[in-house]
Amino acid sequence: MNTGGVMLLTFSWGVILLLAILCFFRVFSKKEIR
């Protein structure tokens, strides 16, 4: 695996994990549906 591969894997995983963590964090801290 070359440097470009490592960078793109890290970038892709990073973006998706960050998005998911932020979303779930907000979901659990906000109100339930009615």
Binding site: M1, G4, S12, I16, A20, C23, F24, V27, I33
Partner: protein, 522 residues
């Protein structure tokens, strides 16, 4: 006069997020995505992928969640009613909405059969039934024997396939019968975490493979991940790569089918759709990019090497899932258990998707004809069961591919284009923006006002045009189809036209009944 009953609803926010994510996560996340990455520039593929996700996938997700919740406020859970609620002046828009029931129904009738293969293989894995097949040719023969395409040492007809189809169909129907909260939500809240646990176990097992054969030091897991992720930046000059990335994003999120409209219609007016939609999309992305990208292709590289992996990556979804993966897992300790994990996770991914595909038709009967849930599920069950039979009996004649083209490809893009225009241009961007933010737990970045109105529809027109020109016209005109298969393809098309016509008549009858009821009231 028939008493209007109360519509079903979701029990919790996590419930609808899991259900929408479950609908989106399917075989494509674990099989189609890694194969597309490997054959379209490796890691470089992720650049057009992310651009498509933010300009096409996520806006469409928000559009469908918002339209669904809006229509639900008028007691409509399917596209004919939802479209009519948005554009009341048009007498015809409800007929375009038929695609939102027709598409999922068509996908359901072949998807359930494929889903039943995963259940069968999970049992075969545990019992060691395919353990005797030790190379690609033998495993292909096993699959063809199971499907009833040939009689061989493994199978003598497709009785097993039919038995597992019956079980799968009953599982689906029993989930649907129990409704939104008691059926779909309850099932997804159990199935989704289990699916993720199985996928994480498999991912960790693959990542920890190291270099299993010391005589071939380059056949290692770092090489496998490199095969998938090392970027070929020159590939970005190819329009095909950009189109493939847009297609992958479009198909992975379950947008353009009509199921998100229906699911969101069971929300209340003040329930958030922005954060919930984004959370469901990001859950799907974890399953696709992180888990899907770390299992089959890296593992295949380790066991088949850098030369064979190219043909394996291009061998198609069924070959990857039902031929290559069992062969890989058979080389590992605890192969029976790992095989079960693999196929059962695909089965769970399948059921959470197929119940969502059934829901629009069931909701249509419930909402527009005031039929109770159990009766609606029974009508749907009998109809779908009959429609499934040609797929099973004429599998080798191209019926499944034909249904997949119309129900799972062509009408999806068309439907997404219609609802985007309806949302941004007919409903109006100001109204749409207010509607999106009702009860929202986060603001949509203002740039999306521009993206939803201009960029997403243009993007859709572009891919619709490109696909029509490059790929769809030869399929529509049956280029390359053998003379023997043509009658089956034509019969399938005739069947599809009949299904569409029946749905159009049902819509007409439903609206006429409403008009008569409205006139009687007042």
């Amino acid at each position: 006069m028939a008493q209007l009953k109360k519509r079903d609803s979701w029990g919790s926010r996590l419930g609808i997020i899991m259900a929408v994510a479950g609908s989106a996560i399917g075989l494509g996340n674990f099989l189609r995505f890694p194969a597309k990455v490997a054959s379209n520039g490796g890691g470089a593929f992720m650049i057009p992928y992310f651009i498509s996700l933010f300009l096409l996938g996520i806006p469409l997700m928000w559009i469908e969640w918002t339209l669904g919740r809006y229509g639900g406020g008028f007691e409509h859970g399917t596209a004919p009613g939802i479209f009519h609620s948005v554009w009341r002046k048009s007498r015809f828009i409800k007929y375009f909405g038929i695609i939102g029931i027709f598409g999922p129904l068509v996908i359901f009738i072949y998807y359930t059969y494929i889903e039943s293969w995963t259940l069968a293989y999970s049992i075969f894995a545990l019992s060691g039934k395919y353990a005797g097949a030790t190379d690609q040719a033998q495993m292909q023969s096993f699959l063809r024997g199971f499907q009833g395409l040939e009689r061989n040492v493994y199978f003598n007809g497709f009785a097993w396939a039919y038995l597992f189809f019956l079980i799968t169909f009953i599982v689906n129907l029993s989930v649907i019968c129990h409704g939104i909260k008691g059926g779909i939500e309850r099932f997804c809240k159990f199935a989704m975490p289990l699916l993720f646990i199985f996928a994480v176990i498999l991912m960790l097992r693959v990542i920890s493979l190291g270099t299993p054969d010391s005589s071939r030091p380059s056949w290692n897991i770092a090489g496998g991940l490199g095969f998938l992720w090392n970027p070929d930046l020159l590939a970005l000059k190819s329009a095909k790569v950009w189109l493939e990335a847009a297609g992958q994003v479009f198909f992975t999120l379950s947008v353009g089918i009509g199921v998100i409209l229906t699911y969101a219609s069971y929300l209340s007016k003040g329930d958030d759709v922005v954060l919930s939609g984004l959370t469901a999309a990001s859950t799907n992305e974890i399953a696709e990019v992180i888990l899907g990208g770390s299992i089959i292709i890296p593992a295949a590289f380790v066991f088949f090497g850098p030369f064979d992996i190219r043909s394996i990556a291009n061998s198609g979804v069924f070959n990857l899932g039902f031929v290559t993966m069992p062969l890989i897992l058979d080389k590992l300790p605890l192969s029976q258990l790992l095989g079960f994990f693999w196929f059962f996770l695909l089965f769970l991914a399948g059921v959470t998707s197929s119940v969502s595909l059934a829901q629009p038709a069931v909701a249509f009967l419930e909402d527009e004809f005031n039929i109770n849930r159990k009766k609606a599920a029974l009508i749907f069950g009998i109809t779908a069961f009959i429609l499934c039979q040609p797929v099973i009996f004429f599998l080798g004649k191209g019926v499944l591919d034909e249904l997949d083209f119309w129900g799972g490809t062509f009408f999806l893009v068309l439907f997404a284009t219609i609802e985007t225009i309806l949302f941004g241009w007919v409903f109006g961007m100001e109204n749409a923006w207010d509607e999106i933010h009702k009860g929202a737990d986060m603001r949509v970045p203002w740039v999306y006002k521009f993206i939803i109105k201009y960029v997403t529809p243009l993007f859709l027109f572009f891919i619709l045009g490109m696909w029509l020109w490059q790929e769809w016209l030869p399929i529509i005109f049956m280029k390359g189809v053998s003379a023997a298969a043509r009658p089956y393809i034509l019969a399938t098309r005739l069947g599809l036209v009949l299904i569409f016509a029946v749905l159009a008549i049902l819509v007409k009858v439903a609206w006429r009944r409403k008009r008569i009821r409205g006139a009687a009231k007042g």
